[in-house]
């Protein structure tokens, strides 16, 4: 499992395509608290976290239950942890749920890359 994080619009998916041989990606939706494991990459995990908030489930637990299916995947998530605490309760919950999921994924992943303006920095 590989994990790519970074701010919005930083070129995370482009990086995955270039360095990890990703051809197709599943894009998470904030309306669906389920992942599709049929593509090489899963993109926008923060949206999945929002879907989990709306459905009352814990994203980290879902990921742990599907750990085997993540083994050969590239997971991509926007780092939304470094701004102002959102005043909206749902956005606040999404931000925290994303953080908990990323701590778990970063532990499990063999590679963790942070993308900054298109350039990658390997954290693990």
């Amino acid at each position: 499992m590989k994990l790519i994080i970074g701010g919005a619009y930083q070129g995370k998916l482009d990086y995955a395509k270039k360095h990890f041989d990703v051809r197709e990606a599943f894009f998470c939706s904030q309306e669906r608290a389920e992942l599709d494991f049929s593509k090489e990459a899963i993109c926008g995990l923060e949206q999945f976290a929002l879907a989990c908030v709306k459905s009352g489930i814990e994203a980290k637990d879902y990921l742990r239950e599907h750990r085997q299916l993540l083994e050969d995947k590239v997971l991509i998530c926007t780092d939304i942890s470094q701004g102002i605490v959102p005043i909206d309760m749902q956005q606040r919950a999404m931000r925290e749920m994303t953080g908990r999921a990323l701590v778990y994924l970063a532990q499990e992943a063999e590679t963790v890359v942070r993308v900054f303006c298109g350039l990658g920095c390997r954290l693990k």
Binding site: G6, G7, A8, Y9, Q10, G11, T78, D79, I80, S81, Q82, G83, I84, V85, P86, Q91, R92, M94, R95, T98, F116, C117, G118, L119, C121
Partner: protein
């Protein structure tokens, strides 16, 4: 050499950029230019500019005020000099929101093109931008459009700059 510097607010980007620019100009014996991009809108801005001008005193910068059409700065300067452009953020904001005709949705492409042209026309330039991409707030379309356009400018500069630095509270991470 072209250098791209970014990082969070009040992390020491400008100071690091000024030091880098000054050192480069001294090494080469070249003129040192500061491209001031802020167009003051009120007294708060005026005070900020006065503070910045005071902070730059004694550094040897020749200040060029150029808040839009960035390559215009080269009309008043020796293109062989060392340029410090602080900041890409303000430049894009002026181009996108500060024109008399109102919002310019294609300002991102314009600024990106002009910055690349600026790189081509100069030998030494330092660009300062702001890393404002790790926020959880869901913004309105206007703000989101601005963030996306700024990221486009940043990434274009990163591709052509020989050195890329993230400043984090005064310490630096060299990406390139």
């Amino acid at each position: 050499m072209h250098v791209f510097i970014s990082g969070g607010c009040k992390n020491g980007k400008s100071f690091f950029a000024q030091e880098t620019a000054k050192k480069r100009a001294q090494e080469r014996g070249a003129p040192l230019y500061y491209i001031a991009t802020m167009i003051p809108a009120d007294e708060e801005d005026e005070a900020r500019i006065r503070r910045h001008v005071r902070e730059r005193e004694g550094w040897g910068f020749i200040t060029i005020e150029q808040g839009m059409d960035i390559c215009g700065a080269l009309e008043y300067a020796d293109s062989d000099g060392v340029f410090l452009l602080d900041s890409v953020t303000a430049l894009l904001s002026n181009e996108m929101f500060g024109r008399p005709g109102g919002l310019q949705p294609t300002a991102g492409e314009k600024v990106k093109g002009e910055l690349l042209e600026f790189v081509q026309k100069t030998g030494d330039a330092i660009f300062v931008s702001d890393y404002l991409y790790s926020d959880a707030l869901q913004y309105d379309e206007l703000t989101e459009g601005y963030r996306k356009a700024l990221a486009g400018c940043d990434r274009a500069l990163v591709r052509v700059c020989e050195r890329v630095v993230e400043v984090c509270y005064g310490t630096c991470f060299e990406f390139k």
